[in-house]
């Protein structure tokens, strides 16, 4: 178990700069999840921490040790690969014991540790099978067991569940969460799946183009996204965005005008923004209520998705942006083709400036 401290980390492949001046603090025993669009450098960052790639410059500390130039085996990290990468010719037992054998652990301790790990992961019955005789979920557990057997200070996961089907993924996600509670070790986890990110993480790191966009707890990221990118990335269905014009900013409120919605008083502090500026309003689907159409506030329903417990209603936007989504509990009275008015819950609305940064709440509202 150890904390991880990255400062000014850079990674350059040939002439492409992949990781750019990245600073990150991972606390001892914390579960940190990296998310971000494909190609943003999640795997690269994980592999830098593992030691599979060397950092171009910057400093990396585990606890108080500088590990920049240590090979993986001296860093005390274990890694679970997306494809599992189990040794096909070895049994489950041998797979888990391989690293311990190479570390010249004595036979008895090897057996002890493999057995302990197998018990935690419920692999005791499978110890003498070869990987090809295991199901996907079992292979996944063996891969975790192999990474855990050497009792690494830090466990790394690169999209470990992406090869499993949906129901197994939920089950394994649960097991990983319980494993983290039980072992209390530092874990760093890369995923595409935001449900995994939200449910597992103590702290989510949103990466974009080799830089950190925002770091925070799942709740912070959901409720106070720092940028439009984070706002759109976290949450499903994704946040609705519409262009608005700034009409005026007072001490505790600002007024904006949106096509179809008219003038809206918002709790953000927009005092730094010039009047008439184009801003972006963001509102999550559950904070976008529907009502009978009135005046200009008319939006056509183009699709209704019924999910059992909830309903998603898709609406044609006024300005050629993406479809707007309303989400509410099922059942719902809305029909395709109907015209409705949009009523955003103003206390839950986000406002982003021209550089896509979120505007802070005005002081009085924030205190309230």
């Amino acid at each position: 178990m150890a904390s991880v401290n990255l400062s000014k980390i850079n990674k350059v492949f040939g002439s492409t700069h992949i990781i750019k001046d990245l600073d990150l603090e991972v606390g001892d025993g914390e579960f940190v999840v990296f998310v971000g669009p494909s190609g943003c450098g999640k795997s690269t960052l994980l592999r830098l921490i593992a030691g599979l790639e060397s950092i171009t410059n910057g400093d990396m500390h585990f606890a108080n040790d500088l590990v920049n130039d240590l090979p993986p085996r001296e860093r005390g990290v274990g890694m679970v690969f997306q494809s599992y990468a189990l040794y096909p010719h070895m049994t489950v037992y041998e797979n888990m014991a391989f690293g311990l054998k190479l570390a010249k652990t004595d036979k008895q301790s090897i057996e002890q540790r493999v057995m302990d790990t197998a018990r935690i992961l419920q692999l005791e019955e499978l110890l003498h099978r070869k990987p090809k005789e295991l199901s996907g979920g079992q292979r996944q557990r063996v891969a975790m067991g192999r990474a855990m057997a050497r009792e690494p200070r830090i466990l790394l996961f690169d999209e470990p569940l992406s090869n499993l089907d949906a129901s197994l993924r939920v089950q394994m996600r649960n097991e990983i969460a319980r494993l983290h509670h039980r072992l209390g070790s530092t874990m760093i986890y890369v995923t595409h799946d935001q449900v995994e990110a939200m449910t597992l993480a103590d702290k989510i790191v949103v990466l974009r183009d080799g830089r950190i966009e925002q770091v925070g707890s799942p709740q912070t990221l959901y409720q106070q996204p720092a940028t439009r990118f984070v706002a759109g990335f976290i949450g499903s269905p994704t946040m609705n965005f519409m262009p608005v014009q700034l009409l005026g900013a007072e001490a505790e409120t600002c007024r904006v005008k949106a096509a179809g919605l008219g003038e809206l008083p918002l709790p953000q502090d927009a005092s730094g923004q010039p009047r008439g500026d184009e801003l972006t309003l963001g509102v999550r689907p559950e904070h976008l209520a529907l009502a009978e159409p009135r005046g200009d506030n008319r939006f056509e329903i183009v699709n209704v998705e019924y999910l059992g417990n909830e309903v998603y209603v898709y609406l044609e936007p006024k300005a050629g942006e993406a479809l707007l989504i309303h989400r509410s509990e099922a059942p719902s009275q809305w029909q395709v083709g109907q015209e409705v008015a949009l009523v955003p819950e103003l206390e839950h609305v986000h406002l982003f400036d021209a550089d896509d940064r979120a505007l802070p709440l005005a002081k009085a509202t924030a205190a309230a």
Binding site: Q82, A85, L102, A147
Partner: protein, 280 residues
């Protein structure tokens, strides 16, 4: 029988006839060698396609010759050494060429391939000088050296292709487990590369076992010869007699081990040869 059935029957007959022709074409020479070797020398020039009696005289004769037995020993020594050295160097080279990124990797691969395209005769005199300088003339060492030169390119190519197909993450998993490159090769890759190794090893063995030109050029005395040369030099009672019986007996004797080897490894060979074609 209706028309459809007739056509079907005709197709069947045609198919089996074709197979029969191919079988005869492929097997007849070997079959004829076998029966010739089992005839007493007095019947040699009677053309027979069936054996009326079996006579092991020819076999007794060749095995009573010390030089032939020695030649078999030499051939085994040379072929096994070639296989062993070629696989050892091939595996390590293929790890470097297949897995380690370095400048000039493609050039090395092309040079390796280019070398294997020279006909043997082209390098004969140069190689002769090398072997004399190394003091390996007229010894199995000289043959091992020269066969390895011709076997390695193929071995390296096949093993490199195979090595490249092994998932990168497997190697990285080994690195995370603390394995050095040597441990990764021997403990992780080797066990997965048996099909490719069986294929290349067997082909190297066959090449070394049957090679004639180098074997003739680089050896001088009976005690150092390998089987192909020894067979060619079997002489009859007089200058004008070619001892077909013993020659055939010797040929059969040295071919049978190959056939057995191929049969043992045939499934592996197929999977090894197609390994480059499809992802498995």
């Amino acid at each position: 029988m209706n028309r459809y059935q007739q056509i079907k029957l005709a197709k069947q007959i045609g198919k089996w006839a074709l197979i029969a022709v191919i079988m005869v074409y492929a097997i007849f020479p070997f079959y004829y060698a076998v029966i010739t070797s089992l005839k007493p020398s007095s019947e040699l020039f009677q053309v027979d396609y069936w054996l009326s009696s079996v006579d092991f005289g020819n076999y007794a004769q060749i095995f009573s010759q010390k030089s032939f037995v020695q030649a078999i020993g030499n051939s085994i020594l040379v072929a096994i050494s070639v296989v062993f050295i070629a696989l050892l160097l091939g595996i390590t080279a293929s790890y470097a060429l297949g897995r380690v990124r370095f400048r000039g990797r493609t050039t090395v691969m092309l040079v390796v391939l280019g070398v294997s395209m020279f006909p043997q005769v082209a390098v004969l005199s140069g190689l002769f000088e090398v072997i004399r300088t190394l003091n390996l003339y007229n010894s199995p060492g000289g043959l091992i050296l020269s066969y390895t030169i011709f076997t390695l390119p193929f071995t390296v190519w096949v093993l490199t292709t195979f090595m490249r197909q092994l998932p990168m993450e497997l190697e990285e998993a080994a690195i995370m487990d603390g394995a050095t490159p040597w441990v990764t090769i021997t403990k992780v890759f080797l066990p997965l590369m048996w099909p490719a190794m069986a294929t290349t090893g067997l082909l190297a063995f066959i090449a070394a076992w049957n090679e004639f030109l180098f074997a003739l050029t680089f050896t001088l005395t009976d005690s150092e010869r390998t089987v192909p040369v020894a067979i060619a030099l079997i002489s009859g009672g007089s200058q004008h007699e070619l001892p077909w019986g013993p020659i055939m007996a010797a040929s059969v004797t040295v071919t049978v081990p190959l056939v057995i080897l191929v049969m043992i490894f045939q499934r592996r060979i197929v999977s090894g040869l197609t390994a480059g074609a499809v992802k498995g």
